[in-house]
Symmetry: C2
């Protein structure tokens, strides 16, 4: 685990720089154009040859991975901060809500990502672990405080979160996702028999417009 025991050259400066450029370009291109965007477009935007792109990211999937990895990191860090929140359930809900806002800026990324994750790659392992740990800590706190049922594990919650965020097709999807998450959190809450429906007052607005 030393730094220079097995004669490893220092990585070339231009290689590092190019890798960074490609990542940045990919983030922009995928954000805008979705997973459809051609890798050649990414290379062009990054100002590197297509060959360079492929050396750094041998498969299309690898590029998604790298781009997405950063985003996941950010979500994880957010959870860390929220652990300072007083009310544990509120902290959890805040995280979920923030997650929605975060996802909202990703647009096309999500579709690409979904496909990438589907393939059962290592990306899945990484992000799942990172986020599970994050959400798990929030969850544990709430359970320990006796405010939340203990039969749902972090993985489940994470899945539910992603699921609800996934459906973003119409303009108002964010509000919907937030509402759905609130309901879910209500379902998780341990209701003291006495004030069973008290917390519902937190959901200020009723559903938008009861169709049909």
């Amino acid at each position: 685990m030393d730094d220079h025991t097995d004669q490893t050259r220092k990585p070339r400066a231009d290689a590092v720089r190019n890798r960074e450029r490609v990542l940045e370009a990919a983030k922009l291109v995928f954000s805008a154009g979705g997973s459809e965007a051609s890798l050649e477009a990414v290379a062009k935007r990054a100002g590197v040859g297509i060959g360079t792109l492929y050396r750094h990211f041998p498969m299309r999937e690898a590029l998604f991975e790298a781009v997405y990895r950063r985003e996941v990191e950010q979500l994880g860090e957010l959870a860390e901060q929220l652990k300072n929140e007083k009310d544990p359930i509120e902290a959890l809900r805040r995280w979920l809500h923030s997650g929605v806002a975060f996802v909202a800026t990703k647009k096309g990324m999500m579709a690409a990502l979904a496909l990438a994750v589907q393939s059962g790659s290592e990306l899945h392992a990484f992000s799942f672990e990172r986020l599970t740990k994050a959400i798990g800590s929030l969850l544990d706190r709430a359970v320990a405080a006796g405010e939340m049922r203990a039969d749902i594990n972090p993985e489940d919650l994470l899945r539910a979160f992603f699921g609800m965020c996934y459906v973003h097709d119409q303009p108002g999807w964010q509000a919907t996702a937030l509402r759905l998450l609130d309901v879910f959190v209500d379902g998780l809450r341990v209701q003291p028999p006495g004030k069973a429906k008290a917390r519902s007052s937190k959901m200020a607005k009723p559903a938008t417009k009861r169709k049909r």
Copy 2:
């Protein structure tokens, strides 16, 4: 709206037959290989020329649409049947659970579908309406019976359902989805202050294994 007022020829028999063949082939191919599968493979499997495929379904998306439309129909019909169930909430839950099983057989289809729906096509309008109506009737019954909170509309519930079904990557995803849906339904339930946590006995199994 008559049948033969504006001189419409009867559609050619071979055209109808070929369309059917392509649909069947597409269903199989997409089910197996996911959205990656080439349309030329579909054409070959259907035993028609690539040109024929493209005339019937001008865009890749159109093919997904047509295939998916049937599946949606089936889900809708299932809801009709479940309206005869006694317990309205149980009926709703049964529908959701059946939905999971249904989705489970689709495998790769879901990814393709997600992309198609994303594009805000007419498919979305159709399936959303069909399923919303189906789920809405189940929901209304439960609300009318005073067993369910009234501030969640059918659209929301549908989104939640799809969201939870979407995350299918690992072997055990079905069990997870079912559990998540149960939690969600619990969240929807109006809890009589007296027996607040009584219904939780319905969730026989605890979460599989509380990781970390």
